[in-house]
Symmetry: C2
């Protein structure tokens, strides 16, 4: 019977120690790849069934980390995940990813799924729909599984977060547009109930105020992070009695949509109209008319989130550390808003 | 009531722990049968996740599916995953994702990780590095966990796959370049030991032969799916005694790199030089000089892979069905290769 096969049998067959077999079966990075393959092959041929639950109970660790993001098809989130992996992989952790598609129900399902999959920690960016999901988050915390928010965070006692200074990002972009001579700057905002979008908006407002420019409610349009949403929004702006001459968009995708419409209408960029986005998605650089955007250091954000997790998982006491890491944004000025040729 | 019922709510109502509820719903054998029935009854009465509940009633399912891709930051793989999710979510399955970064060691780690996480099936696209990872695949198959390959597959007895007709994709793109009047067509290939890249190359070669054009070994350059790789490759081609006047690239990213170099050198596209890519990444459409590319129906590919999995997981007998689904590619002709204005 396969139940009777133990790591000792495998060790005996290969003439190595049981400890080595155990490490190989646990994907311990200290084990040579050739040894690991040999052990796994032998274990498979002997029909050895590893009791991972027993292993997890013994070590208290599955060495799996769960990451939840709104979507994986954005360079920003993909880069954060790459940062998390680069930091955690050398520590022997495997990263498994779930996406919410901005659906709070999916978000709570993802949380339960990852706990069921015995992860040692969850690093996540919450959905852009205001929601509570209190029970699901509480369930994770009750399991004593470290939870770290990145980029989009919500306030929960004892939960750490890694974000960028979105206020500063909004401020510096708006100030740049003012410096380029723009007189009426519009703003594409996200859901203002989310911290990141609220702060980008507040930075925009503060920059206007600091430079003696009036704030016009009609110039603020809520958009989704999508091409079509940017197209619709710029059409609304262009139909105003006094249309703006610049847009600071909280999304690169919406900024691109706006640019496509402006081009169709033969409004020249940046001479007549300046556009700036947020996130520094690769296409902003690829375009012939490259798009000014704010870089959010996603790789660094991922690494930092991973480090915050490692600090928490290595804590043996039960005192919760609530750490708030705020990274600095970086403005990349490109053709879409460069009137002054250097 | 729109409030989401969670296992936490069920636990509260029954005055037991959420962990017990979770175990009962997952048919953990450690839970007493009477407790399990009580939990399932209460869950049903509270309208808790009907689909998942129905599935949980059948024994031995985690309702989690693992997906392994080379990288998540490509629109192609992200779209396949979306297709998988769209098909499986209504059946109560949650999708968890791992990436290999084209590293065979990561690939085998991912396989063990997902099995440890108790997934009911694994849908994957293999790394572009020729490798065996025999032990890891055998481990999955010995566990009787259905395995389905999509896009990049390898031949393993009893394993199904969903791919597109890459030969046809290569053929139709090359034929299109010939129709546009190109006389010397180069090819950026991937690792030819992988089926998909080999077939795109063979399609290219066949189209040349069918149209009486000579095949020139020097025109075939192995590139990675990256901007810089395309830049290097086109520089090599331009230094040839007889440089080509067109490129069929098996990667959109490499095609974009080539275009950037050609522009820098003031070689006009498509008049003097035509370029076509593969995958139909969104940026190929966004560019002012939009790029001709082959669409691989990633959403459909994901859905089809999910359907193949569902057929296998519902099988109660042990006969393995090896299903090979081949989808048709679609050529999107854009500015980078449109000499004939319609």
């Amino acid at each position: 019977m396969s139940e009777k096969i133990t790591i000792y049998d495998i060790a005996k067959k290969l003439n190595i120690t049981a400890a080595t077999v155990s490490r190989a079966l646990n994907n311990n990075p200290k084990i040579k790849e050739s040894t690991r393959e040999l052990v796994l092959k032998t274990a498979a041929s002997m029909n050895y069934k590893q009791n991972k639950l027993a292993l997890a109970l013994k070590s208290g660790r599955s060495n799996n980390i769960g990451v939840i993001v709104p979507r994986i098809d954005s360079n920003f989130f993909a880069s954060v995940i790459r940062g998390i992996e680069e930091e955690l992989h050398p520590h022997g952790y495997q990263v498994i990813i779930c996406q919410t598609h901005e659906d709070p129900k999916r978000e709570s399902e993802n949380l339960y799924t990852l706990i069921d999959a015995q992860v040692d920690g969850i690093l996540m960016s919450v959905t852009d729909v205001a929601n509570e999901n209190t029970a699901a988050f509480q369930y994770v915390l009750n399991k004593n599984v470290p939870l770290v928010f990145f980029d989009r965070s919500k306030h929960i006692d004892g939960v750490s977060s890694v974000t960028i200074n979105d206020f500063k990002g909004g401020y510096m972009t708006t100030k740049h547009l003012i410096d380029e001579g723009c007189k009426a700057i519009a703003h594409f905002s996200g859901d203002l109930s989310l911290e990141i979008f609220k702060n980008r908006f507040l930075g925009y407002k503060q920059a206007l105020s600091d430079h003696g420019m009036p704030f016009n409610e009609a110039y603020v349009i809520r958009t989704k992070s999508a091409l079509d949403s940017g197209k619709e929004a710029v059409n609304v702006l262009l139909q105003l009695e006094t249309p703006p001459d610049a847009i600071f968009s909280s999304s690169d995708f919406a900024a691109l949509g706006a640019i496509q419409v402006l081009k169709e209408k033969n409004i020249s960029i940046p001479e007549e109209f300046c556009v700036a986005g947020f996130s520094n998605e690769p296409f902003t650089k690829f375009m012939e008319l490259s798009i000014t955007s704010v870089d959010q250091s996603p790789l660094e954000m991922g690494k930092m989130s991973a480090r915050v997790f490692l600090e928490q998982v290595d804590k043996t006491d039960t005192i919760k550390i609530e750490k708030k890491v705020v990274l600095a944004p970086e403005l990349h000025i490109r053709k879409s808003s460069s009137r002054t040729v250097s």
